[in-house]
């Protein structure tokens, strides 16, 4: 008999031996013990985790003549024939070769015949998702109500491709990838049983590249044993995997973090020359950066697949850079991984990623930016106090700067007031009281009433023309004199143009007349005069110096005490 690979030789022969699928084997064992056997099972899960094995075990247990508990005896003729693959009552077919409706029709014909030996006939259909839609539909009736002696076991790696009508007729078991610790212990058991020498440090690498599949792990182990002449050691395993050793990957990541482009490019070159799958290197680099990030954020974590020394190395790596830099590296390499798969020059893609990573921009956390802004503000406040200006310094010059404008507005108003056709409803009381005398502290006489009325105007305009309302929203009434309401608008020439537009102006004027007693006309002030006035103030100049800014607009002081900008 020719050599049998480990994955076949060590295929579990009892439910107990199935690794890492405890909930499933337990359910099946209980079902067998109590005799509650369903007529159709669906085993779903990734490759190499025990779907076909469990299906065969179920078949074996059902057909075993000498079974007392849930486990098959393994000694009776049925069990032995099944292991040899000669038992006619277990029909194992694969969905891909028997995918058509004709094959399913044949199957339906044969289902009716009684089993040859035992009480059951078990149909195991592997990769069942490959059946055509018509074949699935032809199977539905049989699957729902098969003859009493038939049990179907469907196995698939892609349950999402199966019709719901089939899924709903089966008891479904989802097989999980095998946990790294379990993989490791079962590999150790097999190596001991095979009496092979092995280097324990090789196992983590083996486990990691198996990605939760026991068959992958065993195939790899087989190759490694053939390569190492019956011995498993870390170095030859890495060579076989075409993988960089963990130390080399760490050196690569270290070079990236230290912004050493030459070393990083050298590492890629070495990997490419070694015939390494660059996707693997990229993925390992991502993993390395990820771990550094993880250990930086959660220093006391100890990942199960890392030795203490490795953990320390990652921790040290992460200590030198900021979280943002690690995130940037992750982003660059995750992007590169995608490109790597599609590009005809995977190496160039990885090199680009390495260069980007070593030349990463200095990422600054928003917190530190905010801290700096706060510091600047603090300094500004201190300077203002030292300069002997009132606590809210910006407001005074702003208000002063408004005075000439008001004067200008008033000088134009008398002719306009002549053409007022009818006096406003409440003229006598309001007009004089509200108008501002040139010298009398300008905003001070503007009562809350005017503010509130102006708000109504803004709200009304907002409803009728939101774009215009938005501009007015930023404005404050500064004066009401001789029927002219002057409003300071914050904004640029665009806003001014918008308000200067005839239709818009009329709209606002109407609204003003409606809501503000005594106001007939409406004028705006967006003046450079304000800006110039503000610029002269020492506090404003200090602010300009700190922020390297320009005075864009001057906003009158509001209740909260806004500052000129």
């Amino acid at each position: 008999m020719s050599y049998q690979v480990l994955a076949r030789k060590w295929r579990p022969q009892t439910f107990d031996a199935v690794v890492g699928q405890e909930p499933i084997t337990r359910t099946l064992r209980n079902a067998l013990a109590t005799g509650r056997i369903a007529h159709a099972y669906l085993f779903a899960g990734p490759r190499g985790v025990g779907k076909t094995t469990t299906a065969r075990l179920l078949a074996k247990a059902l057909l075993c003549g000498a079974r007392t508990g849930p486990e098959p005896c393994g000694a009776c003729p049925a069990c032995q024939e099944l292991v040899a693959g000669t038992l006619v009552d277990v029909i194992e077919i694969d969905g891909a070769s028997n995918r058509g409706i004709d094959e399913i029709r044949t199957l339906r014909e044969n289902v009716r015949y009684a089993p040859v030996r035992g009480r059951y006939k078990v149909y195991i259909i592997d990769e069942v998702h490959q059946l055509t839609d018509a074949a699935f539909n032809a199977l539905l009736k049989t699957l729902e109500e098969p003859p009493a002696h038939v049990v179907f076991v469907l196995a698939t790696t892609q349950p999402q491709e199966m019709p719901l009508t089939v899924l709903s007729r089966c008891q479904r078991f989802d097989f999980k990838p095998i946990a790294p610790e379990l993989l490791r212990t079962s590999l150790e058991q097999i190596l001991r049983a095979e009496k092979m020498e092995f280097d324990p440090s090789a196992l983590p690498l083996l486990v990691r590249s198996a990605e939760g599949s026991l068959r992958d792990a065993l195939s790899l182990l087989d190759t490694a044993l053939a390569y190492g002449d019956g011995r498993l050691d870390a170095e030859s395993l890495a060579h076989l995997l075409g993988a960089s050793t963990p130390a080399q990957v760490r050196a690569f990541v270290q070079a990236l973090l230290a912004r050493d482009g030459a070393v990083a490019l050298g590492a890629i070159d070495r990997a490419a020359r070694g015939g390494e799958d660059l996707v693997f290197l990229c993925r390992e680099a991502i993993e390395g950066v990820r771990r550094s990030l993880l250990l930086k954020l959660a220093p006391h974590l100890c990942p199960p697949d890392l030795t203490a020394a490795e953990g320390d190395a990652f921790r040290a790596q992460g200590a030198e850079v900021s979280v943002e830099e690690l995130l940037y590296l992750l982003k660059v390499f995750v992007e590169a991984e995608g490109e790597l798969r599609r590009s005809p020059h995977p190496r160039v893609e990885l090199e680009i990623a390495a260069v980007k990573a070593t030349r990463r921009p200095v990422v600054v956390a928003i917190e530190s930016v905010l801290a700096r802004v706060e510091e600047a503000e603090e300094r500004l406040r201190r300077m203002a106090v030292v300069g002997g200006v009132a606590p809210t310094p910006a407001s005074a010059p702003v208000q002063e700067s408004l005075i000439p404008l008001e004067a200008g507005a008033r000088s134009q108003s008398p002719p306009a007031s002549r053409i007022t056709p009818s006096p406003p409803p409440r003229p006598a009381t309001n007009s004089p009281g509200r108008s501002l005398a040139p010298g009398a502290g300008p905003a001070a006489t503007l009562g809350q009433g005017l503010e509130a009325e102006w708000r109504q105007v803004v709200d009304e305009v907002m409803q009728r023309k939101p774009s215009l309302g938005a501009v007015l929203d930023q404005s404050t009434p500064v004066a009401l004199a001789e029927g002219t309401l002057t409003v300071a608008v914050v904004g640029n020439h665009f806003h001014k143009d918008l308000l200067a537009d005839r239709a818009n102006h009329d709209l606002v004027t109407q609204s003003v007349r409606r809501h503000i007693p005594g106001a007939i006309r409406f004028e705006i002030s967006v003046g450079t005069g304000q800006v110039a006035g503000a610029q002269g103030h020492p506090a404003v100049q200090a602010a300009l110096g700190v922020f390297q800014g320009d005075v864009v607009a001057v906003r009158p002081r509001t209740q909260e005490g806004g500052e000129g900008q």
């Binding site: 693959g85 490959q130 195939s219 190759t223 002449d229 076989l240 015939g275 160039v348």
Partner: protein, 347 residues
């Protein structure tokens, strides 16, 4: 063709010869590695070693590092049959166009696998094994690997199936998981040069070609080195000329070369590697990493003249141009766009 003729794949050859020596020959192998490095050659050598009824014991081959017991004699009837490709126990499956359309895309189809299964069910006709080599296994139609799984996992006794593919991800993980993966690596520079020299290609072109094919002598051998160098120089002179002469030169070159898709592909390839070299120079990489090592002076000058962003944008432009060509965009348009982005620094 025996194991000792295979250069630069000592790891792969070791796995196979040791498997024969220790009797641990698996039923399924996946030979994974870039094309042109000797995968098929090794598969044939392996088949020959398995099928040879009279392996020589002791002999002059010992110095090659390949144990003699597991090598083929190369003289017996079986060996000669394998070499001629007429051994009844060796079956080579390669992608074929569909039966109905001889000009269609070649692929490995369900029928080929059914054929294989039928043959595998029989006993070996002459030798101790039946060997199946599936070349370019990555080009299977989507349903084929699935139909193959059962056979691949538990084939009849005395069967060895060898899949040849360039990357493991070309086939579903369910297939690869059933095989022993044997990796093939690009050859080192000196090995490739030696191989090319043995075929009569030597001097500077051989070295240049070696760098450009990145350790895949099979690709280098498929080219005429002189033409290759000429075309390389042309590509670089176009880049320089358009950079100096502006849009006029660009459209002139696109007009004269833009109809020839393979040539445009090669131009873009050259520019791509050129920009990669520039990036490498700018990052301070080892000069030995450069593909266009003979033009190092030009590279340094050009790298200084461009910013990092320009270089990265250039590489991006090359990649997009290549993708455009794969997507059947007109080669001339592609060339115009990529040239304007590379030489005229258009966005």
């Amino acid at each position: 063709m025996a194991f000792e003729a295979i250069r630069g794949q000592s790891a792969a050859v070791d796995v196979l010869t040791r498997a024969i020596a220790s009797g641990r020959v698996a039923h399924a192998y996946a030979f994974v590695g870039p094309s042109g490095v000797g995968r098929k050659l090794t598969a044939r050598a392996f088949a020959k070693a398995l099928l040879c009824p009279s392996p020589p014991r002791g002999g002059e081959d010992e110095g090659e590092g390949v144990g003699v017991r597991e090598n083929a004699c190369g003289r017996c009837r079986a060996c000669r049959k394998v070499e001629k490709g007429i051994h009844p126990d060796l079956m080579l499956i390669a992608p074929t166009p569909p039966a109905t359309n001889p000009r269609g895309t070649p692929a490995i189809r369900l029928d080929a696998i059914r054929d294989l299964e039928r043959w595998a069910a029989l006993r070996p006709a002459e030798g101790p094994w039946k060997v199946f080599i599936i070349d370019d296994a990555g080009r299977m139609t989507p349903e084929t690997p699935q139909a193959f799984l059962k056979t691949l996992e538990e084939p009849p006794a005395r069967t060895v199936i060898i899949l040849i593919l360039s990357q493991t991800r070309e086939l579903p993980a369910t297939v690869i998981s059933r095989c022993q993966v044997v990796r093939f690596v690009p050859l080192g520079e000196e090995e490739t040069v030696a191989l090319l020299e043995a075929r009569g290609i030597d001097g500077p072109p051989a070295r240049l070609l070696t760098r450009a094919c990145q350790g895949r002598p099979g690709l280098a051998l498929a080219q005429d080195p002189k033409t290759w160098v000429e075309r390389r120089d042309l590509a670089l002179s176009i880049l320089a000329e358009v950079g100096a002469g502006g849009a006029g030169a660009l459209f002139k070159w696109a007009e004269s070369l833009g109809r020839d898709r393979p040539q445009v592909e090669q131009l873009i390839e050259t520019w791509w590697l050129w920009f990669r070299d520039l990036l490498c120079v700018k990052a301070g990489g080892d000069p030995r990493l450069l593909v266009h090592g003979d033009r190092q002076g030009d590279l340094t000058g050009a790298a200084d003249a461009r910013s990092w962003e320009e270089l990265l944008a250039g590489l991006c432009a090359c990649r997009e141009a290549w993708q455009a060509l794969q997507g059947n965009v007109s080669p001339r348009l592609t060339m115009e766009v990529v040239l304007s982005r590379l030489a005229l620094r258009a966005a």
